[in-house]
């Protein structure tokens, strides 16, 4: 099992705000590392460091054993780390195939006459999508006409096609219905089975538990716990997510408020 990414005690501050502190986890090939946490827990900061949008200012970030500090998302991409953002995965007004190849367009011709290879673009897109089990009628339709789940799938298929070794998914199921979320999780599992390391960010333990191999719980910028799947069950994960002891205290309070009357 090869170790693709590893973060050791990374931290990030924005001015005087400590967004992330002493967080450690690993991402292995063919495994899903799930990052769970409520809003403001530091999930976004962590993935932005991994994706090269921001730089960590403490701790270590290793890619295949080598310490790195990415200056831009392009550098992270060049190292095989692809990120699919919840709302920012695609450009809605552009066609499916143009989105698919955005930033890595195939071209034909030389010098000033270098043009897009549209035929290759369309065909490759169609094939790459159907390899992932996504069947679209028309790759010329604007991505905006696809459903939220389909859009996520196009973005995932794109990352897989362009040889990503690590796939970072930011809340891929957050805005989706139950069925669509299931479809997206299926493609997450498929990417994993192809040998990619997957980082799945979510605040829904029910989505996380079936596909993940490892869990990292964040709260207010610090790690609340890191577990292998064998060490924790869904009920405990949910309890921890919801604030664990805090929730129990709240439950007592609510009961106490109900009973006197």
């Amino acid at each position: 099992m090869s170790r693709l990414l590893e973060v050791k005690d990374v931290g990030k501050t924005y001015g005087s705000v400590i967004a992330l502190r002493d967080v450690s986890t690993v991402v292995n090939a063919g495994e899903v590392t799930c990052v769970l946490g409520d809003n403001g827990a530091g999930k976004s900061t962590l993935i932005k460091i991994l994706a090269g949008v921001h730089q960590h200012d403490r701790g270590e970030f290793l890619v295949e054993g080598e310490p790195v500090k990415f200056a831009s998302p392009r550098e992270a991409l060049d190292r095989g780390i692809a990120t699919v953002y919840q709302d920012l995965a695609v450009v809605p007004l552009m066609s499916v195939w143009r989105n698919f190849f955005l930033g890595s367009e195939p071209t034909v011709g030389f010098g000033p006459f270098r043009a897009l290879d549209r035929k290759k673009g369309r065909e490759t897109t169609k094939k790459a999508l159907s390899d992932m089990g996504i069947d679209l009628r028309d790759v010329e339709q604007p991505v905006g006409t696809l459903s939220g789940g389909e859009r996520q799938c196009v973005a995932i298929a794109r990352a897989v096609h362009f040889g990503a070794k690590v796939l970072i998914l930011d809340e891929p199921t957050a805005a989706l219905g139950v069925k669509q979320a299931g479809v997206v999780l299926k493609y997450v599992a498929q990417a994993r089975d192809r040998g990619l390391g997957v980082v799945l960010i979510t605040h829904n333990p029910h989505h996380a538990y079936p596909v993940a191999d490892r869990f990292l719980l964040l709260k207010r910028g610090v790690s609340l716990g890191a577990y292998e799947k064998s060490e924790i069950d869904l009920a405990e994960l949910t309890r921890q997510m919801a604030g664990g002891a805090e929730l129990e205290a709240l439950e007592h309070e609510l009961r106490a408020a109900e009973s006197p009357s």
């Binding site: 920012l88 955005l102 930033g103 071209t107 897009l116 009628r137 905006g144 789940g149």
Partner: protein, 344 residues
């Protein structure tokens, strides 16, 4: 993601859907209507000299509209575009008549000036993250002041003239301001520049990587950046393209008329934007067409000259323009809703 359920929901208005996806279709229909209308109403409109007149009127506007449409698809505005056509002409004319430079050298210098202003606009917008509307409004005012102030300082008047006696005027005039004789009618060469520029821009937009990036940075700059599109560079290039077009139009004007007023070009920037919007550009970026903008300019030219041929008061032109613009925006907006409609 079962295709069967998808198909049963979408199958029906297929042909219409495909038609609506072409951004320039509305402009094309509008152009046909305007053309037929004035052909029927006036005699001159569809004569050789009539056609030459309205094509000429549309040409310089069209060159700018095409460049502005690329910029708008890239999600930005350039309010300094109109005044830039005067600034470049003034730089060329001042260097040629006052400093005695060869016209070609003066043209080169004003080209460098234009590209520098374009790059500055782009750099400032990207660097500050402010809306390009306000940043270029600033450059618009600054250039307007410079045009008048510098011209008055150098010549003592508010115009620069005397291009005809300068070195290289003949050859430069041949390239930018000669006429081509077709069937006994003299057509301005600016029409060729317009068509050439529109074709080049259209090719660039839909057939090249850079064109793909233009749509992407206008549609969603953050998504584009995330997949490795050089957003800043693309947008700066677009501002420079607009400046380049302004230089071309300025050069055509100065070599045609041999003199330039320091207050020229003011207000034209909105005509460029209007032509681009009539041609199918969204004000929010990410969608539009270069050919559409060229057709938008054609509608402009036809209507403006058609009203003259029909001997109506030119006040009606504004009414026409307003109605055209409103209907174009409504059509564009309907399309965007269609394309961006979110189905979960």
């Amino acid at each position: 993601m079962t295709t069967t359920t998808l198909d049963e929901r979408i199958a029906k208005p297929r042909f219409l859907d495909r038609l609506v996806v072409r951004p320039e279709i509305g402009a094309l229909l509008g152009a046909v209507v305007v053309f037929l209308f004035f052909t029927v109403v006036t005699d001159q409109f569809f004569s050789g000299s009539g056609v030459a007149t309205w094509l000429d009127d549309a040409s310089t506007l069209g060159i700018m509209a095409v460049a502005v449409s690329l910029l708008m698809i890239g999600g930005e505005f350039d309010l300094s575009a109109g005044v830039m056509t005067a600034s470049t002409a003034l730089v060329t004319a001042t260097l040629a008549t006052q400093a005695g430079w060869n016209v070609w050298l003066a043209l080169f210098a004003s080209l460098v000036f234009a590209l520098a202003v374009g790059a500055f606009n782009g750099w400032l917008v990207m660097r500050t993250g402010l809306p390009s509307f306000i940043v270029t409004l600033g450059t618009f005012l600054a250039l307007q002041g410079l045009n008048l102030g510098v011209t008055r300082l150098v010549t003592g008047t508010v115009q620069v003239s005397g291009m005809r006696s300068t070195d290289g005027y003949e050859s430069a005039g041949f390239v930018f301001a000669s006429t081509v004789d077709i069937g006994g009618t003299a057509f301005q060469i600016s029409i060729l520049w317009w068509i050439g520029f529109a074709v080049l821009a259209a090719w660039l937009l839909v057939r090249t990587r850079f064109g793909n990036w233009i749509f992407a940075v206008g549609g969603s700059a953050q998504s584009s950046r995330a997949v490795g599109v050089p957003v800043v560079r693309t947008k700066i290039m677009l501002f420079m393209t607009t400046a380049l077009a302004a230089w071309l139009v300025g050069s055509i004007n100065i070599l045609r008329f041999a003199s330039v007023q320091a207050n020229q070009g003011i207000g034209l920037e909105f005509q460029y934007i209007i032509a681009a919007v009539i041609g199918g550009c969204l004000l929010t970026g990410g969608f539009g067409s270069a050919i559409g903008a060229a057709i938008g300019a054609l509608i402009f030219g036809m209507a403006r000259q058609g009203i003259v041929f029909a001997r109506w008061d030119s006040d009606w032109f504004m009414l026409f323009l307003g109605v055209m613009l409103l209907s174009a925006v409504l059509v564009n907006n309907a399309f965007r809703r269609r394309a961006e409609r979110v189905r979960r």
